[in-house]
């Protein structure tokens, strides 16, 4: 009976990722009228499924097998508390990373249980969290400079068409990463504890993510970029594509990193190219605070919850 709890919690997380992260993938395309919401959701669902099937194994293994020794209580407490945190943060539109919440919850709960924690894997993950936004910053800056040199000299109507194709491409990369990294992080513990088969988890996870996108993501289709710097479609593409390539790289390394934080890194990179004054540092401070507080809070809550409940 207890086995059903983490599955339900993971289902909530998948649904939440769908409702929140469609904006990561297609927020700019929808916002600038290049894609309709319905089309974006269908493309998202398809590429999320493709992402988790083709490239989700490494991240699932890191979170589900390498990080901590799991038992059903650890998975239940970690995923339930993560799902509550993710749903609440989505509701309040806070940029909380689901990776950070899940990883820190698993570590917190395992620590309270006295189960073994693979410090080497944990350090690798934390280093990835530090490095990934900077990687996205550098890649986005390169993408923007290349675009400026190659594309902006072309005739306007042609550039507009290219831009739509480019935004769609970067959206697809992010959607693929959402499956290969974000959803894989949520489903890793369930698959490696053998509560669901890898294929079933991928299928139902993608389906729930799709429904989450369909049901709620219209509410949060606002690019996170609006808050940081005034973003035109080109800058949006550069930030998104740079972040997408970066997350793809980390996915290949099996590291669960946040697409949202990478996009933020990309936006800052493009903003810096346009001048430091274009960046709203107040917003950056809030995001950085959330970046530090999310894993700490998740760790503490799960640690205390485990001590209290078990």
């Amino acid at each position: 009976m207890l086995e059903i709890i983490p599955v339900i919690a993971a289902a909530f997380i998948a649904f939440s990722i769908g409702s929140n992260d469609t904006s990561n993938a297609f927020g700019i395309s929808i916002g600038c009228g290049a894609l309709t919401f319905k089309r974006a959701t269908i493309i998202l669902g398809f590429f999320v499924f493709l992402g988790i099937i083709l490239s989700g194994q490494r991240v699932m293994k890191t979170v589900g097998e390498d990080l901590v020794s799991l038992n059903v209580q650890i998975i239940s407490i970690a995923l339930v508390s993560s799902s509550i945190a993710i749903v609440l943060s989505n509701w309040k539109k806070l940029p909380v990373s689901s990776h950070q919440a899940i990883v820190a919850s698993l570590v917190g709960s395992a620590f309270a249980f006295g189960e073994s924690i693979n410090i080497h894997t944990l350090i690798n993950i934390i280093v990835s969290w530090f490095v990934s936004p900077f990687g996205a910053l550098i890649l986005s800056t390169i993408v923007y400079v290349l675009l400026e040199k190659v594309l902006l000299k072309k005739p306007l109507f042609r550039v507009e068409r290219y831009l739509k194709v480019l935004l769609l491409t970067s959206g697809i990369v992010i959607a693929y990463n959402t499956g290969a990294n974000e959803l894989a992080t949520a489903l890793g513990p369930i698959v490696y504890y053998k509560l669901l088969s890898s294929l079933n988890a991928a299928f139902f996870g993608s389906l729930l993510l799709f429904f989450g996108a369909l049901a709620l993501s219209n509410r949060v289709i606002e690019t996170v970029g609006k808050g940081i710097t005034k973003l035109d479609a080109f800058s949006g593409f550069a930030a998104q594509f740079g972040a997408g390539l970066n997350v793809l790289l980390f996915t290949h390394l099996g590291m669960p990193v946040s697409t949202t934080y990478c996009i933020i890194g990309g936006i800052v990179g493009v903003g810096l190219l346009k001048g430091v004054k274009t960046i709203r540092f107040e917003f950056i401070k809030k995001i950085m605070a959330s970046w530090v507080l999310t894993p700490l809070t998740a760790f503490l809550i799960c640690y205390l919850a485990t001590l209290f409940l078990v």
Partner: protein
């Protein structure tokens, strides 16, 4: 199959419709200016009716463009300037219509005035062609700066002719107030056409950098 996927994902039909409508709109600008030139050249006041018809078509095209833009053609960052362009092109046709109506209300032009008015009308036709060429730079590779520079140079030429025309008008014997008023109206509208064409060229330049 690929076409269907492309259409499903990217659309693009509305954009093509807008571009075609804009081409048609600009074609009417040239046609109206050519008719005005012939009207002055041959003193054929009946041509004003044809110009008025063109103006009506121009209005319909402007409304169509607005509709397609409202329905989501092009990314939002371009829509405002694209509509502004359609509005200015429509204003050019309106101005040609006003010029032709004013022409029907004045007596036969004196030869020295007619010569200058014809020069301006001919320049307006050339500027219409230049505007079409400038617009095409948004679609295919060409040097937009060169096209808009030609428009600016021609507009300055019209300004010079305008000064000469006013000097000649001041020396004219005017029989009554309305004759003078109508002639003044005609000249004012005629020389304003080039200003509006230059404004339209400026919008093309703004459009060209609006994604940078």
């Amino acid at each position: 199959m690929f076409g269907k996927i492309k259409k499903l994902v990217l659309g693009g039909e509305k954009e093509n419709k807008v571009i075609e409508k804009m081409r048609e709109h600009l074609k009417y600008v040239k046609e109206a200016n050519e008719l005005l030139k012939v009207m002055i050249e041959k003193d054929d006041k009946d041509l004003a009716k044809e110009i008025c018809e063109i103006e009506k078509h121009g209005d319909v095209i402007r409304r169509d463009i607005a509709l397609y833009l409202y329905e989501g053609a092009f990314i939002p960052g371009l829509r405002a300037n694209l509509y502004r362009f359609a509005e200015i092109v429509d204003e050019i046709i309106d101005e040609v219509e006003d010029t032709s109506i004013a022409y029907t209300l004045i007596p036969k032009l004196k030869e020295e005035i007619k010569k200058d008015c014809l020069r301006v009308a001919k320049i307006n036709v050339k500027m219409s062609e230049d505007l079409i060429a400038a617009f095409e730079c948004l679609q295919s590779e060409c040097e937009l700066k060169d096209r808009t520079l030609v428009i600016r140079v021609r507009e300055e030429e019209v300004d010079r002719i305008k000064g000469e025309l006013y000097k000649k008008m001041m020396k004219m014997d005017i029989k009554n107030y309305w004759e003078g008023e109508m002639l003044s109206n005609f000249i004012r509208h005629l020389v304003n056409i080039s200003d509006l064409i230059e404004d339209a060229a400026d919008i093309i330049q703004i459009l060209n950098v609006s994604l940078s």
